[in-house]
């Protein structure tokens, strides 16, 4: 039967009318395109400020909304951290929000290992039941919590949660690199480096503009907000000339892991030429000159150590650079009015990272840059409402699985490794593991062990917006919001000299049935009930944030950022006495905060030396008494009463595996890096700016420009020096296998004329085996083949200690046949 089209449409219209399913008929009547146009609304635009949650920086964002839908992101020009700039990953925020692979509802792994959808209530009830049971059996310590959710505010809440259920086992998956500052300054935080006012930044291994905690802050403070003429000079010592470090005035290519030696060489020249800050050294440091301890033994001073051991020729030999460069750098540092030495990147990932950190930081002390503009200071604390410490005395106090055990000699442990090992060997019988916004299976060298350990844990819960490698092995996968859908509180990132607090508010209703991790923890507290719910009294995460932020209003410190960066300064000054505080009431303050999304306090308390140096001597300790005491403890002084201090120290050094003698060990010194494997080249994984955060791989755009310095995308590359490529007969574009003792990954050779021969740099961030966005099975993950060595002091796993070989798999594919018809 032939029905004329018109008739057919009519029939359809009638049918849909009678059945009351208007939708079907409409699709026929109006082409989709027009429906879309009509429904797209009037196109009314608005802007909303919020905070970028894609990495730990917490840059300010301005979201462009059309008819309430986000259609564009840009950096918030008011935000003191990024001042309008936004990195490639931040730009991809919307692609993360709208990503096709987002988790849309909670899932539970069934008996057969397959995932089944589960309701939030059932999921939380299951976790709650287990928690209640463990708690009632006084086994709160069998709960562990790993979280990489950035910001102190969430961390405080998680701490409260852990305390409430009686678990001491809470940690971030990353070791934070604090130890050099603890040893020298006695503080448990990374101090602020005022790169914005410094006139010479000497960077050891750290590409300030690419890696580091807040590259966008470094760019905007060192380059963006300053006139070309008074810009800070920049010296970079390392093995890889990245896009950012290429801006350095002097590039010192050195052998991997020898940053500490170079720093000491520079210190030697400074001291020998008298170019150090005598006043500061005299007044605020300890252990510079030779000294006599309380027992009357003469002890080696830093000065003598430097002069005897770290003369430029020797340092140049160690580092593979030339002695003249060492002298040249030292003189530049000596001449600078506000120099600054920072270590990071590859320098903080080696087996000798802590020693390197100490050596580099001691340069700051020699130059006396503490507590002054363009120097090292502590950002003023954020006056948040303190949390009431809940009464947990009824619970048995147990030691955290994250405390280093005595035999290791280290100050700390690698959290992922410790958790995995202790679960596997049974010394930490964890029954419930909660992983929040973190993907340790992928990102940690101990990820493989963790995956094994997860099988032994009764219940593993992950809170994540995407299916990642960790979630793939979890029992319960709870989808969380992405940052644009959720409340966020971002606190001062590491190494920033002023304090800031970014309050991000959701700019769009959650697209799926997801929840904020904070809300999940609060809900769990309620499910567990009893003291747990008392300790977590807030209805929702924003409620919690609101209460914490009350402290800011009461203190009257700092200022909400408005207008441009300069205007914000004026505003800040106005608030300091030029006019009354604008917002008296909490509600008002909250409203303003919500509107402007950021608060900051740029004025550090000057002259507060006691806060800056919390060492036994109250000074910057070249000779770390903290370390000496620790070594003696490790050496067993307390255990064996008869033992002399010296013997204990010797034994401590031995336990720790250090190669220097007892005089030198507590002073800044160079420990040669340890490597494993038989390969010819040293593998140095690095984090390109296109791999910041956990979710960069979600965005097709970021993947497309992943290797943009090589005009490349979607693949992992292995950067080698021209000489190395020549020796190995490799050419740009060849596909190679990077082989370590642990395994092998594939990468494309990129020849870089400025890389250090004998090294191979491989970017992290690709090689996911889960449909995390578009990046499934794209590129490879160098962490997989790392044979980790522990930093003997901090216990952190080294990423840069593996030796590898490159084996040619295929030549640059452009000579070969193309896919038959263009791959479609």
């Amino acid at each position: 039967m032939i029905v004329p089209r018109r008739e057919f449409l009519k029939m359809l219209g009638v049918a849909s009318g009678t059945l009351g399913i208007g939708g079907c008929g409409r699709d026929w009547l109006v082409p989709d395109r027009l429906v879309e146009l009509a429904q797209r609304g009037p196109g009314l635009e608005s802007q909303a400020p919020t905070i970028c949650g894609l990495c730990e920086s917490g840059c300010g964002l301005t979201v462009r909304l059309v008819d309430g839908l986000p259609v564009g992101l840009k950096g918030n020009p008011h935000h003191p951290l990024n001042r309008g700039g936004l990195c490639p990953v931040g730009q991809a925020g919307l692609e993360v929000l709208y990503a096709p692979h987002r988790l849309q509802a909670p899932q539970r792994r069934g008996a057969g290992g397959e995932l089944e959808p589960v309701s939030w209530d059932d999921a939380l009830a299951e976790v709650g039941d287990l928690l209640r049971q463990l708690r009632s059996e006084n086994q709160g310590s069998r709960v562990a919590l790993l979280t990489d959710e950035p910001g102190q505010l969430f961390r405080d809440l998680a701490d409260s949660f852990a305390r409430a259920i009686g678990s001491p086992n809470i940690s971030s998956t990353k070791s934070e690199g604090l130890l050099p500052f603890t040893l020298t300054q006695g503080i448990a935080q990374v101090p602020g480096f005022d790169v914005g006012k410094s006139d010479l930044v000497m960077s050891f291994g750290l590409d300030l503009y690419e890696d580091g905690p807040t590259p966008l802050h470094a760019i905007s403070a060192m380059v963006g907000s300053r006139a070309t003429e008074d810009r800070a000079a920049h010296i970079y010592a390392g093995t890889r000339l990245s896009a950012g470090s290429a801006k350095a005035e002097i590039y010192v290519p050195i052998s991997p892991g020898t940053h500490g030696a170079l720093a000491l060489g520079v210190a030697h020249v400074l001291v020998r030429e008298g170019n150090y800050n005598r006043d500061f050294v005299a007044e605020h440091t300890f252990g510079f000159e030779d000294w006599i301890d309380d027992r009357g033994h003469e002890r080696l001073g830093f000065r003598r150590l430097l002069l005897e051991r770290y003369y430029p020729d020797r340092v140049a030999r160690i580092c593979g650079c030339d002695a003249a460069t060492v002298v040249r750098i030292a003189r530049r540092l000596g001449e600078a009015s506000a120099p600054l030495a920072v270590a990071g990147g590859e320098a903080s990932q080696g087996s000798n990272a802590t020693w390197t950190g100490v050596a580099v930081h001691s340069l700051n002390a020699l130059l006396g840059v503490f507590d002054r503009p363009g120097g090292v200071s502590l950002p003023p604390p954020i006056p948040l409402t303190p949390l009431a410490v809940s009464e947990t005395s009824s619970l048995e106090q147990t030691e955290s699985i994250f405390t280093p055990d005595d035999s290791a000699g280290a100050f700390g442990v690698d959290p992922v490794e410790a958790l995995a090992e202790r679960v596997i060997d049974g010394s930490g019988p964890i029954a419930l593991l909660i992983i929040v916004s973190s993907n340790p299976v992928y990102s940690s060298p101990a990820g493989g062990r963790l995956r094994q350990a997860m099988e032994q844990i009764q219940l593993v819960v992950t809170l994540t917006p995407f299916m990642d490698e960790t979630a793939a092995h979890a029992d319960l996968i709870l989808p969380s919001h992405v940052f644009l859908e959720s409340w966020q509180g971002a606190t001062t990132p590491a190494a920033v000299a002023f304090s800031t607090l970014g309050l991000g508010k959701p700019v769009i209703e959650p697209l799926f049935d997801t929840r904020h991790p904070g809300d999940v923890l609060l809900e769990l507290g309620r499910v567990v009930g009893g003291p747990a719910s008392e300790a977590l009294p807030w209805v929702s995460y924003p409620d919690y944030l609101k209460e914490r932020l009350e402290g800011l209003v009461i203190s009257g410190e700092g200022s909400v950022v408005t207008g441009s960066f300069e205007e914000s300064w004026v505003h800040f000054l106005e608030e300091r006495g030029w006019r009354f505080l604008e917002h008296r009431s909490l509600e008002n303050c909250w409203a303003v905060r919500e509107r402007e999304s950021a608060w900051w306090n740029p004025v550090p308390a000057r002259g507060d030396w006691a806060r800056l140096f919390r060492t036994p001597s109250g000074r910057f300790e070249f000779f770390s008494q903290t370390l000496e005491r620790h070594l003696r403890e490790v050496g067993g002084m307390e255990a064996q009463a008869g033992m002399s201090e010296e013997e204990a120290l010797e034994r401590g050094i031995a336990v720790m595996g250090s190669q220097v003698d007892s005089d030198e060990v507590c002073l800044p010194h160079f420990e040669p890096p340890v490597t494993t494997g038989e390969g010819e080249l040293q593998l140095l994984p690095f984090r390109p700016i296109t791999a910041r955060g956990r979710l960069a791989a979600v965005s097709p755009m970021v993947m497309e420009m992943f290797g943009y310095p090589f005009l490349d995308g979607w693949q992992t590359w292995a950067e080698v020096a021209t000489e190395t490529a020549h020796e190995l007969d490799l050419a740009d574009g060849d596909v190679v296998a990077v082989e370590s003792d642990r395994g092998s990954i594939e990468a494309v050779v990129r020849v870089h004329p400025a890389a250090v021969p004998g090294t191979v740099h491989v970017p992290m961030g690709l090689g996911h085996d889960q449909p995390l966005g578009v990046a499934e099975n794209i590129g490879s993950n160098p962490i997989e083949i790392i044979d980790p060595i522990r930093d003997s002091l901090s216990g952190a796993l080294s990423l840069t200690s593996s030796r590898v070989n490159l084996r040619l798999i295929s030549r640059r594919p452009h000579g070969g046949p193309a896919p038959l018809d263009g791959g479609h």
């Binding site: 009351g20 208007g22 008929g25 409409r26 009547l29 109006v30 395109r33 027009l34 146009l37 009509a38 797209r40 609304g41 009037p42 196109g43 009314l44």
Partner: protein
């Protein structure tokens, strides 16, 4: 034998005619789901265009009102018109009315109402014709939207005819 090519030629002509007819059939009149009476609303009741086309002065799109807008007056039937009954039913069920657009520009053309009305000061009638006098839905646009038409108007008004202005 000699009729072969003649027949072919005839067939060709016929095909051309069929194609022409088919082509003109494609340009069928637009039928609206509800026979909206512009005249009643504008001339008799004195509404302004922007009372219903809410964003004609402020937005990129003027927007065609749908149930939410109509509900302001027609939540309950005001007359015994059958068409209104249809509308009221729509409002009651919350189903959007599947209006068909009369005026539209292709995807690759950027047209902003605001730019023309509020900033350029052009009356609605200039492009849409005397819509307010139509007592029945228009089966075809009053003024056919063509690039030539746009360009002519721009020329007359001394506005730039830079391609980029409209083609994005």
């Amino acid at each position: 034998m000699s009729s072969g090519p003649l027949r072919a030629a005839l067939l060709g002509v016929l095909l051309a005619i069929v194609a022409g007819v088919a082509f003109s059939l494609l340009d069928r009149p637009i039928e609206q789901p509800i026979a909206f009476n512009h005249r009643l609303h504008v001339e008799d009741l004195g509404s302004d265009c922007t009372d219903c086309h809410l964003y004609a002065m402020t937005g990129v799109r003027a927007t065609i009102p749908n149930v939410e807008v109509c509900a302001d007056c027609h939540a309950e039937a005001q007359t015994d018109s059958e068409e209104e009954a249809l509308l009221v039913a729509h409002i009651a069920s919350g189903d959007p009315i599947p209006w068909r657009k009369l005026y539209w520009v292709p995807d690759h053309v950027y047209f902003s109402h605001r730019r023309h009305t509020a900033i350029g000061g052009i009356e609605c009638e200039t492009c849409h014709g005397p819509m307010g006098e139509a007592s029945e839905p228009m089966p075809r646009p009053f003024v056919k939207v063509t690039m030539n038409g746009c360009m002519k108007c721009h020329e007359q008004n001394g506005t730039s005819n830079d391609c980029l202005l409209c083609h994005k």
